[in-house]
Symmetry: D2
Subunit: 325 residues, 4 copies
């Protein structure tokens, strides 16, 4: 199929490349002329503007937007809504908030244009291995674009088949799903990231408990020096908690068991927070996902005002205050 | 009544004084001769050792131990178990772990001696206002000692009576209870402290959210400078969250709205941890009490190893690691 | 002063009464003619519509809206924005989300009208004792309305003065504050409720641990039957955790130590959730306030899907699944 | 090597079989004569008692105890401490609390006997695939028993090697480690299980948020029906949260997307609780591991007393109680 790719960073560029390798044609655009020129050299059709891209595509046109979430994506979708025509499809494969997707789909629907949101996982390995995709949008257009998704997805690979699956739809096993209407793709990806935070924190706490077993907070006869690189490694062998995150942990500890190059200031992207907001809208108790997010907040601070207040109250107990009557 | 007081720190000394003012006789002992001499000057009978104290009391003797929990108390109770006779009563009014009380009561019971544990609240104000006491031990001895408890307790004071109470036993309203068998006094006091941690953390988080409303993490148009001293003050006026801890908060903020004299390293005593252990033994989900305890742990650290591990995993995502096959 | 009161439920009606007793004049309106008639009988001026009320007030007119948050308040404020004139003041004393306040203030500002939001505490006792008020809005109008706030507030009462306060502004001590610009009043009240949830949960968990100490989950020799009504009562006497919520707890337990009339399905209003959203916007770790909210969510469910999934995974361990290769 | 296996349940029986297949000789004992007879038929040497087993082994004898943790293991270790001789080795490969290991090692050390604790993972698949083992005890004896561990362990298998590892000791890569002194094996296994709880709860909450997205608690236009079996499946394909637990989740959902055979009453074994106790001893904030444990507690209850107390306090707000003075 022929489609336009807007945003030629690492993700956008590699998606274009994987599509071309799979026999598709890409018209490419980026604010950076250099990024466009690089892909033109690889045989793709360069565009000098969104209008130029639109002119170089046939209707119904397919615009794949691969830009940072927030203002850049929002502006581009808005611009495309003016440039596009009835029947055109705009795809946002960035990390957009799913409620923005729902709003945009409605806005575009009033012009008979279609909106598809894709939560994409796979990062820098995607070019070689494919992208895991969670897709939201109207069934007709998602089906129409299936050749594109099929090319981008990892395919079966050598992952063990899930015992008991008898779904006629094998897309999930090839690495992509049509999750639901507009917003569903990013919603599922958002929850994915929420879970990711929770799992990471579970490992973090566990390894903390192992590391601190040598701490002088403990009576000397209770201390143990545990060798974390080997523990992470042995847990990769058939234990219940084996996972890709554990593989990463084993690698990091193999390299430096003190992890001394890291300061421990841990960032969070929006998805963690949005997941909690979704949980609260649904009244789902999400203790673990929330605690994982908060641990990151705390990691970036020296002290909270609240901690000072705790000290102040404790000072108050000490006898310098009036008791209630 | 006549009793021995062992440990003449601020608590022990004032308890002795309040008892004497109430018409009781105290034999006093402390490792520090100076502390003993000071109270002797106030008319109490000094003792030079536990044996000397025993000689100066009549059977059944009453020993009130008011020492730091742990080794000092343990040693003294052990010594008294050797010195005392059948019928004697040993009172531990410190912050002992309730399972130690249960063990000691059993050990003393084998010698027909009695053990009473008292969780005491009131601190430096106790001399004037009285001590709130939660008492564990055998009914007969607790009843026997009632004149002592009656003297030490705050009494009715001017606290509004609880609507609907029709218990024939008014001791709770006068500020002390017989909570149950040995250990029950300290168990109830332990849970008290667990709740205290939870309440303190609730205020701490709330005031943090108020304080950070001025933070430049927020878009400029959403920021508000809120004046915390007035907020704490107005909440003291008939709001649902009025409490003595809020009174302390209002005082601390009135003095310095930045709380700049406090660093935010917050200690915890054993009771918080023991409360969580009790919760786990009973399979009671104690999310709030536990989170409050953990916030104190974290306040005392620069960074945890776990936080570094989170960063290491995030670094791993960045493309420098092998994906699972 | 003369003002209009819209919404004559328990809160609105009593506010009107307290104002009239304080020498103010109230024009009153409610959808229910009966409610209007009742207050007219007490000497207030009835209005048959918002327009009628506007006609019966002098400029600048003061409209006090005392309606359920959400649609009813929103509609009334919108209607008043059409009816009112430059200089008029619209007060929302309900439980509105503070971001709605900010939006409305901006909208009214374009018409040179003023918006004031008030977080009100005090409930049914307000008529006699006064209302604790947290006020947001422009200084000029808040100052102008001071006679109204002064009348409604509790005043000094017999609450012990906070040691160390030397603010020239004594409004907080009389029970109301000007918290900041539009939205600040409801923001402060929102955090108040967030703290309230946290404190309530701290007590709930603590009393649970006391109650379950008699549970047969424990070995028989570790069980204790603790008498909760007396424990709550004694903690009211000078303990660190004395509070109005503890007073309520003591009352509830005095009436029925089993609390058997309650099922344990616990509701939450929006403020708890909004507080967490504010915490996340500010990146404040609010473990306790969040856990308290989630405990209420969980209390209203039989089982979560997540719990079933835990069981399913555990079943999976049992040998009926393929291990990863 | 020749060793005795005590306890011939599924774990013990299969360990004996894997050892025999690897060229070792097993003397086997169980309270059940039938279990002994079954293995005798497979060519192992039956023992009729611990004494008989001791007689059928050469010094230094090796006793592998594979019994339920608690009383059965404790009794057997105690009995063996009487039967064994200096130099003998007692192995506890069950789920014992690591402090019990430390105590036993000390007790046996006084008789010049040796104690080894092994945290074992692998369950029913171990016979074919091998057992992942975390071993605590004295270096000399652990080294001596290496042929046994080598046979039982999974070996390299086809798991991708960890990039950057250059440890001369490759035991971790073959599936077992010498974690440290007595207790270290069970300590590491305990933390493993603590992490397992946290990860499981992260998935549980995430899938709950997905499932409840269809809930009628949400406004109709925000609801989405998400097909969980495909979501779990697609996340297995190169996503950050791929893991063995996710594989199990995908299998469970493939079989029944409602998980209707499960009630959601989730058990916990001791390890989760012990992990939290260890965290508290080390003052490590373990929010996520604890919340995961508490979610299981709550899943097994109808309502907590604490929830009733929340309702009672809320009822108290409603106007039927006295305000504080």
């Amino acid at each position: 199929m022929r489609l336009g790719i807007i945003g030629l960073g690492r993700m956008g560029g590699n998606i274009a490349r994987r599509l071309v390798r799979g026999g598709h044609e890409c018209v490419v655009y980026d604010r950076s002329e250099k990024a466009v020129a690089a892909l033109a050299k690889e045989g793709m059709t360069p565009a000098t503007s969104l209008e130029d891209m639109a002119a170089k595509l046939d209707g119904p046109r397919i615009f794949w937007v691969m830009l940072p979430a927030g203002a850049p994506t929002e502006q581009t979708v808005t611009d495309l809504s003016g440039i596009g025509q009835a029947g055109d499809v705009i795809i946002d494969a960035g990390n957009t908030y799913y409620k923005d997707d729902m709003r945009r789909a409605k806005m575009l629907g009033e012009k008979n244009m279609h909106y598809i949101d894709i939560g994409t996982s796979g990062g820098v390995w995607g070019l070689e291995r494919g992208y895991c995709m969670m897709i939201g949008g109207p069934k007709e257009q998602v089906d129409l674009l299936d050749p594109i998704f099929d090319t981008l997805a990892p395919g079966y690979g050598d992952i063990v088949r899930t015992h008991g699956r008898d779904e006629p739809d094998d897309r999930a096993e090839r690495g992509y799903i049509h999750a639901g209407p507009a917003g569903a793709g990013h919603f599922v990806k958002m929850v994915h990231n929420g879970i990711e935070y929770g799992m990471m924190q579970a490992y973090a706490e566990g390894f903390d408990i192992l590391a601190q077993k040598a701490s002088d907070k403990l009576p000397e006869e209770e201390r143990m020096e545990l060798f974390l690189p080997d523990i992470a490694e042995v847990w990769r062998r058939g234990s219940v908690i084996s996972s890709w995150l554990l593989d990463l942990t084993a690698q990091a500890l193999a390299k430096d068991k003190e992890l001394s190059q890291f300061s421990g200031h841990v960032s969070d992207s929006g998805e963690g927070q949005w997941t909690i907001e979704a949980a609260m809208e649904e009244a789902v108790p999400a203790h673990v996902l929330t605690a994982a997010l908060y641990a990151r907040y705390r990691s970036r601070m020296d002290h909270t005002f609240g901690e000072k207040l705790l000290s102040a109250m404790r000072f108050g107990f000490g006898g310098h205050v009036e008791m209630p009557q």
